[in-house]
Symmetry: C2
Subunit: 416 residues, 2 copies
């Protein structure tokens, strides 16, 4: 629940320790190098997990923001606190939109807001930080264009965050129908409680709201970027539902699917934040690269946690991927070491014995470790994108960029 | 199946007979006037039903267009033949888009193209005719803007037709999940054959494709118009799924819901065809009014046919609305005459006896007749919108306008 409802003050020394390692290894990064320095155990020893506070949560008062007095150093370390007020604004606007105008979809809205999904807070946080991080001089003609548009730039960037969140939750709702998911992250899935109908309709509702908000931005490039996301979300789902045995065992296919299903949304919305600000193509591409690599790192860790859960032991996760026959990075790497595992994968996992056999191979292999290394590689690439942005002396800009880099670290060290 | 796959040469005399009546009664139209002249029986005596040919249909060759040599008079009478080649182009492009790029959704595509739904052909026909009907001088600044855009105007208008069709079919697919529909117009519904998953995913796929095509038009007003449609489709569905007893018995609520569920798509896409051509606000509004009123007329007849079917007798239709507890115009009018019917409606129709009682009241009332009169009123309003367009001497323009007026008549006289 790292990104969901709270933040925990990470000791500065720990942060700096990681940061130093992180920076020093990035330039000459390769998978094997990272392996040496950042095996699962070592990262865990250094950084540990994260606790969540009750900072987030809609159940109580609308402006329930409990700012703790914090030193500048602390602020710098917490990406969430930097944009807390604004996140609250975005979240309330989303809630009002769903509850007030279509009271009958209130049940869906409740689900939307109650479920403690980290993803919900993660995306707007990234996008608001990105908006500040890119608050640098833009070429004159583009700036002139951006300035003529109302509402003001920041409001339109907040709108991108809202649209992104609506698309994300809509995709969760429809995925629930597709997956026959009984629970999603511990909260009963909506389709389980209300039936498929409400899941489909609530998803469509959010998607249509997203389209209306997108249209209101009156920026054809942003419309294209986010329309592409919708298409790629479906393509990713299709790739997962209908792959051949060959594709199911292909790392390339897995990464492509992962990009479509998870990273496309955050990469294209990061780029949208840049485009709306009238930034150059180069800056927009760096924003895109940040989102893409952060999203890929996030999903790779998710895939690992599905095996390990909050503990470090194999098989303690929900094992929901493997039980649904979804083969992810750890198992794909294990298959490279133990080709005989492929026959098991091809038989499928309806028989629980096959799950045990696969876990056995996975435990003997470096699968988990290599998947983590790949996540770290992408986290590093994300951080590099931020560091390649045009220099700025503005303290807010610099702080937001540090927070974005900090997020790349949190993504790969989270334990739940 | 009037609009689906074929056209039939309607005797000119019959057409002219209707046309004369139609025009002569429109200016002073009121419900009671129309009742006298156009009761269900009389319209049927004059115009009869329509047969379908095998003109449409994707099963065979891709360019399966069997043009019969036809006189100008015949061409004028058949809205479908006027745009036949272009419709074929649009339909093939849609099919290629679905089948070629996502082969795994081929099953959904098959459903998409095989099912003999008139609606599928109806909307593109209207939009292509509208494109020609509006082919008149546009104000210079707007025209200059329209001319600078590529691809050329007609191609972009065809794209509006494709987008409209994709949104329409997507909404059918998701409605199938919402309705638990076992059959849709005689063809097994996709979710029945393939399960909810494919229905949801295929619907999402078409929606996302529609969004991408919409973005490619690079016209923010059109994006807004069609995003509004998506929102209203959901609102209409929500209104139907969750109404109070009071709302269920309200004619106003029914008409609003009908607009959202049926007429919003065609009205906004007609307007989009005008906007893309750089037409004035006035012309764009007339296009909108045509679509709105045609859509409402269409749905009112649909509601009648649900009671009568192809015969003229009550209870011969599928009765699917009433069995799903959906109260439509005929019953709402019957309730005005027989207030005691309301208690039956409030009890619901899970008990088949209540269906019989309601049908009994409906038969004694003028419900069917008044619903038909309302449909005719809206058909007249649609025709008026076309006749209010700026004059044109262009033969193509005049022919397309006649065809659009002809469609308003076909909509209210169809028997299936």
């Amino acid at each position: 629940m790292l990104f969901s409802r709270g933040f925990r003050r990470i000791p500065t020394t720990t942060f700096n320790g990681f940061s130093r390692w992180f920076v020093s290894h990035r330039p000459g990064y390769s998978q094997s190098q990272t392996t040496t320095h950042c095996s699962r155990d070592s990262t865990h020893k250094i950084f540990g997990g994260f606790e969540e506070s009750r900072f987030w949560g809609f159940a109580g008062s609308r402006y329930q923001i409990h700012h703790q007095s914090s030193s500048l150093v602390e602020e710098e370390l917490d990406p969430f606190s930097l944009v807390a007020d604004e996140l609250s604004l975005v979240a309330n606007r989303l809630r009002d939109m769903v509850v007030a105008e279509v009271p009958k979809l209130a049940s869906a809205a409740e689900y939307f807001f109650k479920m403690g999904v980290e993803g919900k807070r993660f995306r707007p946080t990234v996008l608001l930080l990105m908006a500040t991080a890119l608050n640098v001089k833009v070429p004159e003609p583009a700036k002139a264009l951006a300035d003529t548009l109302t509402p003001e730039l920041r409001t339109r960037q907040q709108s991108v965050a809202e649209i992104t969140e609506m698309i994300h939750v809509a995709s969760l709702l429809h995925d629930d129908v597709l997956d026959d998911a009984e629970t999603r992250r511990g909260v009963g899935s909506l389709n389980c409680i209300m039936g498929n109908k409400v899941s489909v309709l609530a998803g469509d509702f959010l998607l249509s709201r997203a389209c209306v908000a997108l249209a209101a931005l009156k920026n054809t490039e942003v419309v294209t970027l986010l329309a592409t996301v919708l298409e790629q979300l479906v393509t990713g789902e299709t790739m997962q539902m209908t792959c051949t045995s060959e594709q199911r065992c292909s790392m390339e296919y897995y990464m492509q699917k992962t990009y479509y299903k998870t990273a496309s949304l955050i990469s294209n919305s990061c780029k949208s934040v840049a485009v709306i600000a009238g930034q150059t193509t180069e800056v927009a591409m760096l924003a895109f690269e940040y989102g893409k690599n952060l999203g890929l790192a996030y999903q790779l860790i998710d895939d690992i946690l599905d095996f390990t859960g909050t503990s470090a032991s194999l098989g303690k996760g929900s094992l929901s991927d493997i039980r649904h026959g979804i083969v992810t990075a750890p198992l794909l790497y294990a298959m490279e070491e133990f080709p005989q595992l492929r026959a098991v994968v091809e038989q499928g996992f309806e028989n629980p014995k096959n799950v045990d056999i696969a876990l056995d191979y996975l435990g003997k292999s470096r699968g988990i470790q290599k998947a983590r290394e790949l996540a770290i590689k992408h986290a590093n690439l994300a951080a590099e994108a931020i560091e390649s942005l045009p220099e700025s002396d503005d303290e807010d800009v610099k702080r937001s960029r540090r927070a974005l880099v900090d997020l790349t670290q949190r993504v790969v060290t989270r334990t739940k």
